[in-house]
């Protein structure tokens, strides 16, 4: 199985604070890699670096074998292949749900209006949001907004989907409607890297779980190993705290 994403010795700092330190990671096709770790451990920064929203200080990032950490690369073309979903949804408030989804297919991929609309409506229908097509995002619940945000990135048929704590801003009862989409995508064979605090969900979808601490991966392996039989004392400590918070 070819690796869709390959990270090699990534280093990133903000000022004097070292956020990612010599981090390496391989993501094979059709797999889900779950990043866990405390806030500030570098999960979001890692995802933003992969998407080239942040530039790295050292190391290399490869997407389908092509080095995308090359400063000469066309970042817009790279991002076309990557879908990203944010913790805070970031839907465009001045556009309807449908317009949010069709903007990039029309402007970036050059699809015509009808084609993009048909595809968007099919996605909305699949995820039970067809009746919200003409609504503005502010009229939607948080869970609905995040589902629209996921659909928005799916509309570009991304090679790799990056999900940055997509349920952290949601009411607990809304979390599941968002996670069920991700489960569907996983069974469709979508390649994903996701940061999450939902350990139960991580167990269900993860092919590999990586525990991040101080900018590096301290422990990695199957969900069974890392989440239920962690070897590293820091992983054990973290999971104990998560458990106490009732999230496992």
């Amino acid at each position: 199985m070819a690796n869709v994403l390959e990270l090699s010795k990534i280093r990133k700092s903000f000022g004097t604070e070292l956020v990612l330190n010599d981090l390496s990671l391989s993501v094979p096709e059709h797999t889900a890699t779950v990043l866990i770790g405390a806030s500030g451990s570098g999960k979001s920064t890692l995802l933003r670096c992969i998407n080239l929203l942040e530039s790295i200080d050292d190391g290399q990032i490869f997407l389908d074998g092509e080095e995308i950490s090359d400063p000469l690369i066309n970042v817009d073309e790279v991002r076309r292949k990557l879908g990203m979903v944010f913790q805070s949804f970031n839907l465009f408030p001045h556009k309807t749900v449908l317009e949010n989804i069709t903007l990039a297919p029309i402007k970036v991929q050059g699809k015509n209006q009808d084609e993009a609309t048909t595809a968007a409506l099919a996605l909305l229908k699949r995820f039970d949001l067809a009746d919200k097509a003409d609504q503005y995002p502010d009229r939607l619940s948080g869970g609905q907004q995040q589902r629209v945000a996921i659909i928005r990135s799916l509309a570009l048929n991304p090679r790799l989907l990056l999900l940055d704590e997509i349920t952290s801003a949601l009411d607990p009862v809304l979390v599941n409607e968002v996670l069920s989409i991700v489960r569907d995508l996983k069974s469709d064979g979508m390649t994903m890297v996701l940061a999450t605090h939902e350990m139960g969900f991580a167990t269900q979808v993860a092919d590999e779980v990586c525990f991040l601490e101080s900018g590096n991966i301290l422990e990695r392996g199957s969900a069974q190993d890392v989440l239920h039989a962690p070897k590293n004392p820091k992983t054990q400590e973290f999971l104990k705290r998560v458990h106490q918070a009732g999230r496992l």
Partner: protein, 288 residues
């Protein structure tokens, strides 16, 4: 919603009682408002008409017959103000947008223009409008350039456009900067270029946000077009002034003021309503 409304429900006796109470409270509030308005306005009116100079003021500022007589010349002048406002306003919009975009771009090729745009805004926002009008109105014809009109209305408009485009550029720029970076991140991560992100995501939101301050500027633009009268343009202010100085009756000023208000007040109300409607359509909170 409607299903629930249609189901068999009739208000309880307590609710009917409450409705009566609410109606009584709102009737009482309306009565208080009416009394207080009558008292305050009545007092002001009494102070005005019983003041020692009222008779003279009435004759020299509120002479209805004279007002009727000067009305055609003042309104002909006002037509100049309106033309200046709309033609100038269009030019201001275009130039200001260009300046704002230049000042927010990071493109290295545009670096010199970014400096120029900053200098432009500094100069024309910092200097009094009346000086710019005098400098352009008397300075440009003195250059005796071929092909540049020395028409005072044209030069006056140019001066107003120079100043206002600097102001409006700053308003638009502040709107652009007020859009949260996460919107830009979302657009860029969908593969939109920085230009597309500006055009389809940032600007539409920014413009919406700055409509109220822009309206403010539009109203003051209409009023400030009166300043071109110093170049000898017979606008509404100048027309009123000519009539007033001929007869020492100041009613033309009042006529001009009323005409300006007849335009600016409805304009403000209309825009307020337009903003409210759009907010309601897009935001659940706007409906409250």
């Amino acid at each position: 919603m409607s299903e629930r409304m249609n189901s068999a429900w009739s208000p309880s006796s307590r609710e009917i009682q409450r409705r009566g109470e609410r109606a009584r409270i709102s009737r009482r509030q309306a009565a208080i408002a009416a009394v207080s308005t009558t008292v305050v306005l009545g007092t002001l009116l009494i102070i005005l008409v019983t003041s020692p100079g009222w008779e003279i003021v009435k004759k020299t500022f509120f002479d209805i017959n004279y007002g009727r007589e000067v009305f055609p010349t003042v309104i002909a002048g006002l037509w100049i103000n309106l033309q200046l406002t709309f033609i100038g306003g269009a030019a201001i919009g275009v130039i200001a947008m260009g300046l704002a975009l230049l000042r927010t771009t990071k493109s290295p090729a545009l670096t010199p223009f970014r400096f120029l745009a900053t200098a432009y805004v500094d100069i024309f926002r910092g200097a009094p409008l009346i000086l710019i009008i005098l400098l352009v109105g008397f300075g440009v014809p003195a250059l005796q350039l071929k092909g540049i009109s020395s028409n005072v209305i044209f030069l006056g408009t140019v001066a107003v456009v120079l100043t206002y485009s600097a102001y409006v550029a700053e308003v638009i720029r502040s709107g652009i900067l007020s859009i949260h970076p996460s919107q830009r991140a979302a657009a860029r991560s969908l593969g939109l270029t920085s230009g597309q992100t500006m055009r389809y995501v940032v600007l539409p939101q920014a413009i919406r946000r700055v409509v109220p301050p822009l309206l403010n500027d539009f109203v003051s633009l209409l009023k400030d077009t009166g300043l071109v009268s110093i170049l000898g343009v017979t606008d509404a202010v100048r027309a009123a002034q000519i009539n007033a100085s001929r007869t020492f009756n100041y009613t033309p000023y009042v006529v001009a003021a009323i005409l300006f208000l007849l335009i600016t007040i409805p304009m403000t109300r209309y825009t307020d309503r337009a903003i409210r409607q759009r907010t309601n359509a897009q935001s659940a909170e706007g409906a409250i």
